[in-house]
């Protein structure tokens, strides 16, 4: 609990710090930062449309941040969520357009199921490559994002094209209800929340989740107690893919009503960002996703009512990453033993005590998975 409180405080401090840096930039532009931030918040929450828009952009981020965190729990760095969103979307679109012989409710379920299966299988590829051939999942997933994007681009410009000027598919015959019109927020929001809650429960209440967390924090231990690290990592990646697929399905059925080319650009990386900032903590990730969604949807309002460009929001998110990374560097500094102090082999006792004192507060599981991910995060975002 104490560790949870501490990380919560850290996240809040990071947030404030990022906003402060943003304020400095606003001052340099010659605007009033307070006004700008008020405008930002009003832009995100003032009125039904604005709240709806914020919620609408929150929905996919919630899922993609969760998707990234799940993979990270098993020690995998899944940059491929975006590709999974695309493929989940196109599958949902295909089923929603063509399987009209199914009654509406079943068709809806079929859309989700199809999206989940295709996206999970897509994530299975890098997982298998990593587990059996030690191919870095980071490289593979980054590359596979382009592949997924081009597959869908091809489909909506060719075989599945609606024949209009835009590259997009025909409208789907089943929709998720938009309940705060004219904003595009839809019942998919509740689906997303339910799914994320369910996934969190799977991670913390079931043997599947136990194994995934165990493998992510100590694969040697897991192997030794009889858990198969390979199997768990593949499971986690597929679960991660499935979440991406659901996000894609919701975007297609709920927001657009058809498959729009390029619709998911940025969803994967922003979800990854939300997850990374909170060190893949399943409880905090949704809040961070919400915060990012708020920044995004409020940015336009800020730009309109003050002279501050909306790209300032990108500055704030960038500062977020930097601060999160800095904190990690700081931790590294503490961890280092005295100069050249390699622990002599055969002296596990010393190592024991030294590490004990250093890991006084230890964010459960996030620590080990967080460490490699952050460094890579810099490169990929």
């Amino acid at each position: 609990m104490k560790a949870t409180m501490q990380s919560l405080i850290k996240i809040l401090l990071t947030m404030i710090f990022a906003l402060l840096i943003g304020a400095i930039f606003i001052l340099i532009i010659g605007e009033n930062p307070l006004e700008a931030y008020v405008a930002l918040v009003r832009g995100a929450f003032n009125g039904k449309l604005k709240i709806g828009t914020t919620l609408a952009s929150f929905t996919p981020l919630l899922l993609t941040s969760c998707a990234f965190a799940v993979a990270a729990k098993a020690g995998a760095f899944n940059v491929g969520v975006e590709g999974e969103v695309f493929l989940g979307g196109i599958t949902a679109a295909y089923i929603g357009i063509n399987w009209t012989f199914l009654p509406k409710p079943i068709l809806l379920v079929a859309c989700f199921a199809g999206a989940i299966i295709v996206a999970a299988l897509w994530a299975w590829i890098p997982a298998v490559l990593k587990v059996y051939y030690r191919v870095s999942e980071v490289c593979v997933t980054i590359l596979m994002n382009s592949v997924a994007l081009y597959i869908t681009s091809y489909l909506v410009s060719g075989p599945m094209s609606a024949g209009v000027a835009n590259a997009q598919s025909l409208p789907v015959t089943v929709n998720l209800t938009q309940f705060m019109k004219p904003s595009s927020v839809n019942t998919g929001l509740f689906v997303a929340i339910a799914v994320v809650v369910l996934v969190t429960l799977v991670l913390y209440k079931t043997t599947i989740g136990y194994k995934i967390r165990s493998v992510g924090t100590n694969p040697n231990f897991s192997e030794y107690v009889g858990i198969s690290p390979k199997k768990s990592l593949i499971q986690a990646m597929m679960l991660s893919g499935a979440l991406g697929g659901i996000a894609g399905c919701i975007e297609v059925l709920g927001v657009h009503g058809y498959f729009l080319n390029n619709f998911a650009t940025g969803l994967g990386s922003n979800g990854m960002l939300a997850s990374l900032i909170v060190k893949n903590n399943m409880v905090f990730a949704p809040f961070m996703a919400f915060f990012l969604a708020m920044l995004k949807s409020g940015a336009m309002g800020m730009q309109q009512s003050t002279g501050v460009p909306k790209s300032l929001v990108d500055t704030i998110t960038a500062v977020f990453i930097i601060v999160a990374t800095m904190e990690l560097l700081f931790k590294f500094g503490n961890k280092k033993p005295r100069r050249g102090g390699g622990t002599p082999p055969g002296k596990t006792a010393n190592a024991d005590i030294e590490t004990q004192t250093r890991t006084g507060v230890n964010l459960p599981s996030a620590k080990t998975t967080g460490t490699p991910t952050h460094n890579e995060g810099e490169v990929t975002t």
Binding site: S214, F221, G341, Q356
Partner: protein
């Protein structure tokens, strides 16, 4: 009277609650090769790392050429002419040998590095000491022996006249060792003083002028090479006092539980680190697997427990072939395993005590149903085990990272013993734990045996092997170098077998060697 280059008196060094050195003494004369020997964890490396300034000593006096030293850092040590070759080489893999040697001390030509000058001055050393080094190769392209020579050259170019070598031969082949010894003799002839840390007695006898022995963090004594023998050194090293001698209870041995048949296993860096090992463990007996660390015991254990691939051969557990089976599968047949490093394999330090205790049985109906974890059942189970095995703190929800070495090890032991398997493989079960925990863990091993399990005990601690085992198998360089009945052998005989060079026939029958 000889002038001492190095004098270390009454050194005390503790790491938290672990006493690494309680009474350290060491002197080094100009131009001698002085070996510092002792078992693993006796404090040899710690002594020398203190001299080199890597550790701050708690109390004691260190004098270099008569100057009383206060706080030493590696930088000061280097300035005073001390150089150390560590067990793990401190070289940059992607730089060439030449670049590594001059790193930090580059001769400059304007703003560029004067490689020609560097090559010249290093060439001198290479010729002088007849070292075989290729300056243009990258570190990752050269052999371990060559990398070690690079380390030595590196130290020499920094002006060292005292050279500390921390178990230099542990990573070398016999041929490379010979080559190293030639170099050391050349260095000595040139007036350099050398500290040679080792636990290989034959090497020590070959190379040293004087030998100092440490045992259990204490200085035992210093002898001249000419006035001692391997067996005397072994006696000094291992000691006569026997602690924690558990009254050995003999149980009726039953069927063969573990049958290892001519097994070959690859090591981390070499193929066939284990070359055709066969051994059996019967129900109700403890078989001790002795040997100096790194002679293949770890690889053999990993092969038996399914954590390492077997090249060829067959391993049977309870009559079932477990070669190449997954660790989970082997566990389900009846393997329980206390791994050698609790922080790598034994525990998941980010998880609570109860999650660690239940880890190997999480799929069991006892702890989960339809993949849902029965948190309460696990908690109850953990509370029970914590009581039985006296794990402190008693709160099973605390993280294992917060436990002391002894209690952390008890969590591992509790989990494995409570599995009620058929075979317990206990690898270094008492390494790095306090005396109290050693005692209780040894008693537990004895109880496990009385319950009718077969126990395979691997330990670097000969005294532990002798006091617990019924039969003892000694490994040397990936092979069984001898086997003995525990009651008919002693530390010296085993020590010789561990060095690989003993009269096999006489020790096999447990006959006298002296």
């Amino acid at each position: 009277m000889d002038a001492y280059v190095i004098e270390m008196e009454n050194i005390v060094k503790t790491f938290g609650e672990v006493k690494a050195i309680t009474d350290g003494q060491f002197t080094l004369k100009e131009g001698e090769i002085h070996s510092l020997i002792g078992e693993n964890g006796a404090g040899k490396s710690t002594m020398m790392k203190s001299l080199y300034g890597m550790y701050d000593i708690d109390s004691g006096i260190i004098k270099i050429r008569g100057d009383l030293m206060g706080h030493i850092t590696p930088k000061i040590a280097i300035e005073k002419g001390i150089g150390m070759v560590h067990q793990e080489f401190m070289l940059v893999n992607d730089l060439t040998v030449l670049e590594n040697i001059i790193l930090g001390f580059e001769p400059k030509k304007g703003i560029t590095i004067d490689f020609e000058k560097a090559r010249g001055s290093i060439g001198q050393y290479i010729d002088q000491y007849k070292m075989d080094i290729q300056l243009n190769k990258k570190i990752n392209q050269i052999s371990v022996g060559e990398a070690q020579r690079v380390e030595i050259i590196k130290i020499l170019t920094r002006g060292a006249n005292v050279i500390i070598l921390d178990e230099p031969t542990a990573v070398l082949t016999p041929q490379e060792t010979k080559q190293l010894f030639k170099i050391l003799k050349n260095l000595k002839a040139d007036g350099k003083s050398i500290v040679f840390i080792s636990h290989k007695l034959n090497e020590v006898m070959e190379i040293s002028d004087r030998i100092s022995v440490m045992r259990q963090s204490k200085y035992i004594g210093t002898v001249n090479k000419n006035e001692t023998s391997q067996s005397e050194l072994a006696k000094m090293m291992i000691g006569r006092e026997v602690f924690l001698n558990i009254e050995k209870a003999s149980a009726k041995t039953g069927e063969t539980v573990l049958d290892v048949k001519d097994v070959w296993v690859s090591g981390e860096k070499e193929i066939s680190k284990i070359k055709g090992v066969s051994l059996q463990v019967k129900a109700g007996e403890i078989v001790g697997l002795a040997g100096i660390d790194g002679n293949g015991q770890s690889e053999l254990i990993e092969a038996i427990t399914g954590l390492r691939e077997v090249e060829k051969g067959e391993i049977l557990l309870e009559g079932k072939n477990i070669t190449g089976k997954s660790p989970g599968k082997i566990r389900s047949i009846g393997l329980t395993h206390i791994p050698e490093d609790r922080n790598v394999r034994g525990l998941n330090r980010t998880m609570s005590i109860e999650d660690n205790l239940a880890a190997a049985k999480i799929e069991d109906v006892q702890f989960s149903k339809w993949a849902l974890i029965k948190k309460k059942a696990i908690h109850k189970y953990a509370v029970g085990l914590a009581d039985t095995f006296d794990i402190r703190p008693r709160n099973p929800q605390s993280l294992t990272a917060a436990l002391s070495g002894g209690n952390a090890q008890k969590v591992v032991v509790a989990r494995e013993v409570a599995m009620n398997g058929k075979l317990l493989v206990a690898s270094q079960p008492t390494r790095g734990v306090d005396i109290g925990a050693i005692e209780s863990i040894r008693t537990i091993l004895q109880d496990v045996k009385l319950k009718g399990l077969g126990v395979l005990l691997v330990s670097a601690d000969l005294e532990e092997i002798l006091s617990l085992s019924d039969r003892i198998v000694v490994m040397h360089e990936g092979k069984i170098s001898g086997e003995a009945i525990a009651s008919e052998t002693d530390e010296e005989k085993l020590g010789l077998l561990m060095m690989g060079g003993a009269d096999l026939s006489s020790s096999k029958s447990g006959g006298d060697l002296d």
